[in-house]
């Protein structure tokens, strides 16, 4: 039976400090940089050692694809034997192409999810399973109701192309208040794609709640970075709570 997944999310920003570490991994609050927490290559290695299910590596760059980012992906993949999803201002086919060539297994696209031509190109060249579509929203976006918001997302036309849908509520990001699950049921009826949620975890019970709501995967950023609960520990703990998660290889 397909296991539920836990996915560490490593967000990176380019910094002005000296080489060799050009990109630093950061924590965000409400999608804005909050704290610099380390070297992304270290983090990829650590998560792989912890036998995570997948790794998500995102470059936060306000809509501008950075040519140095694929190089970071390539270095991350040097000894990588864990699935890797990458993203960060991918707006053209050439961006996707170079990221896949650098070792990415999947690409995550947020803002450009209305660019159907780009999405279709990725799907026809790499398959639907290679495309993760991220719906980044805030509590304010839901002020007219969940259904209205979902209708508007459906109208973009990407739902049938997505290999996975990722839901990220800006208002919960870095808050530790638990994950927003209001969109999950509606989206499960709208698309067959697996659903990944994140933003707001501060305890193991938040994670268990996501899986109880039927989500397929949960991304973790601040929670992993600022507590001593590693993925291996969390996996064991939520399996005790009845979640079907991989605990042994």
């Amino acid at each position: 039976m397909l296991f539920k997944r836990l996915i560490p999310k490593i967000v990176v920003e380019k910094t002005e400090s000296l080489a060799p570490i050009i990109f630093k991994s950061i924590l965000t609050r409400a999608f804005e940089p909050f704290r610099v927490v380390g070297d992304p290559i270290s983090q990829v290695k650590i998560q792989q050692s912890n036998l995570v299910d997948e790794i998500l590596l995102v470059h936060r760059n306000k809509g501008l694809f950075d040519k140095a980012f694929p190089d970071l992906v390539l270095r991350s993949c040097e000894y990588l034997n864990t699935p890797l999803t990458v993203g960060g201002a991918v707006t053209e086919r050439s961006h996707a192409k170079i990221l896949f060539r650098s070792g990415a297994d999947k690409i995550i696209i947020g803002r450009a999810r209305s660019n159907l031509e780009l999405l279709e190109s990725i799907v026809s060249n790499y398959g639907a399973q290679a495309l993760v579509i991220s719906i980044d929203y805030s509590d304010d976006d839901l002020r007219f109701g969940v259904n209205k918001f979902c209708e508007s997302e459906i109208s973009f036309g990407y739902m049938s192309l997505a290999g996975e849908i990722a839901l990220n509520n800006k208002s919960r990001d870095g808050s530790g208040k638990g994950v927003d699950l209001r969109l999950v049921k509606t989206l499960q009826r709208t698309t067959k794609a697996p659903i990944v949620v994140g933003c707001g975890v501060s305890g193991v019970e938040h994670i268990a709640d996501c899986f109880s709501a039927g989500c397929d995967a949960v991304t973790l950023s601040t929670f992993l970075s600022q507590t001593d609960q590693s993925i291996k520990q969390i996996r064991s703990h939520i399996s005790t709570l009845g979640v079907n998660i991989r605990t042994r290889n």
Partner: protein, 401 residues
């Protein structure tokens, strides 16, 4: 409200234990590991593998192997075994975390002098260590980052420098946790370091989190050597516990008899377990923080070992746990003073690290001062002002790096 935590019905460890999970019968993964160890492992074959490793040792090296040494029962037994049973010439490497107790130093001298071995001690920069302790406490609710990382990295650098391609450690982690099972081929390598030792933060990460105020070379003792250097040397880093069955109580008796190793009074631990964790005077604070985070600590761990062997019944185990566990140790005052923290600062920090479903509403009892408490060395402390700056910087995010 007293929270009922799910516990293993054999060893009583709770669900907040790192890496624990339970089978359908309510038995935990660590107990299952132990069952496997006691029934399925061909220890004769394992010992032959160890002998094979020893046979491959080249005679032109300065030392046959490196033995990392903390002065505790496990590393002392390991050293005894390597010298007298395997007849190897080790270089003993001691990473001084800063909190050696007088009895540990006496033990160490006695042991190395009786065995006739070379000893190398390394004491890292205290001004950095105290900052690492505070940072690590904030980041992970665990102030021992410098010790975990130093103990496992520094001896690797010595091996590289001295061109000694074998390091022999003590017990495997599967004795106490289920990061690995006995079915796994557990090596003491970077994967293990990343799971168990560094709390999810490498030396580079920590340096960056501290605003890059220290250089890469300041962090070298805590940095795991790069793969290329280890491959070049063809370094093997193995746990003795992978090759022989581990029996801490019996091993403690043996080292007392053979080497005059002595136990000590330990904060928060029943006196009959005076062979346990005697080497570090911050052990009491460490155990206390674990209790506040997870609702169990060292006594539960010791009882779990006894219960698995059938050496104690559950009622007696529970009695010892409630009598000795969760008391505020005398060393906490020393710790707070060292790091320039008030009690309120401390409470605020550790409450953020509580692990579900433990709710940490307990009566705080006061623990007894151990006999050598007054000799625990005073060190240059962080001022309250310096530590407040670090705490504030951590809370606010501080992007200025």
């Amino acid at each position: 409200m007293i929270v009922t935590m799910r516990r293993c019905n054999t060893c009583l460890l709770p669900e907040t234990h790192e890496t624990i999970s339970f089978d359908h019968a309510g038995k935990c993964t660590i107990c299952q590991n132990r069952d496997y160890r006691d029934s399925k492992i061909d220890w004769v074959l394992r010992r032959q593998e160890l002998d094979g490793v020893c046979q491959d040792i080249q005679s032109d090296q300065d030392y046959d192997c490196i033995v990392p040494f903390s002065g505790g029962k496990d590393s002392t037994f390991t050293l005894l075994f390597i010298v007298r049973e395997l007849n190897l010439k080790p270089l003993v490497v001691s990473f001084d975390h800063g909190f050696y107790r007088p009895n540990m130093l006496t033990n160490r001298n006695r042991v190395v002098e009786n065995l006739g071995v070379d000893l190398l001690t390394f004491k890292p920069n205290w001004l950095l260590v105290r900052k690492l302790m505070l940072q690590s406490l904030l980041e992970k609710g665990d102030f021992c980052w410098h010790c975990h990382t130093g103990i496992f990295s520094y001896p690797m650098w010595v091996a590289i420098e001295k061109k000694v391609p074998l390091i022999l450690w003590g017990e495997t982690s599967s004795e106490y946790t289920s990061y690995y099972s006995y079915e796994d081929d557990e090596k003491v390598d970077e994967d293990r370091f990343n799971q168990i030792a560094n709390l999810g933060i490498t030396a580079d990460d920590m340096r960056i989190r501290m605003g890059e105020a220290f250089s890469q070379r300041d962090f070298k003792p805590y940095t795991y050597p790069p793969r290329e250097l280890l491959r070049e040397l063809n370094l093997q880093s193995l746990a003795l516990g992978s090759f022989i069955p581990w029996n801490p109580k019996e091993q403690a008796k043996l080292i007392s008899k053979e080497l005059g190793w002595t136990g000590d009074e330990v904060e928060g631990v029943p006196p009959e377990f005076n062979y346990e964790k005697i080497e570090c005077y911050m052990q009491g604070v460490r155990d206390y923080i674990k209790y506040r985070k997870r609702g169990y600590s060292r006594v539960s761990h010791l009882m779990a070992l006894e219960l698995r062997k059938g050496a104690i019944n559950k009622k007696s185990a529970e009695k010892l746990i409630s009598e000795f566990e969760g008391k505020r140790p005398a060393s906490l005052d020393l710790f707070l003073n060292m790091l320039g923290l008030s009690e309120e600062d401390f409470e605020e920090i550790i409450q953020k690290h509580r692990v579900d479903p433990w709710d940490d509403r307990v009566m705080v009892q006061i623990g007894k001062k151990p006999h050598d408490f007054d000799s625990w060395q005073a060190k240059p402390v962080l001022t309250n002002k310096e530590s407040k700056k670090t705490v504030e910087s951590f809370r606010s995010g501080s992007l200025n790096s």
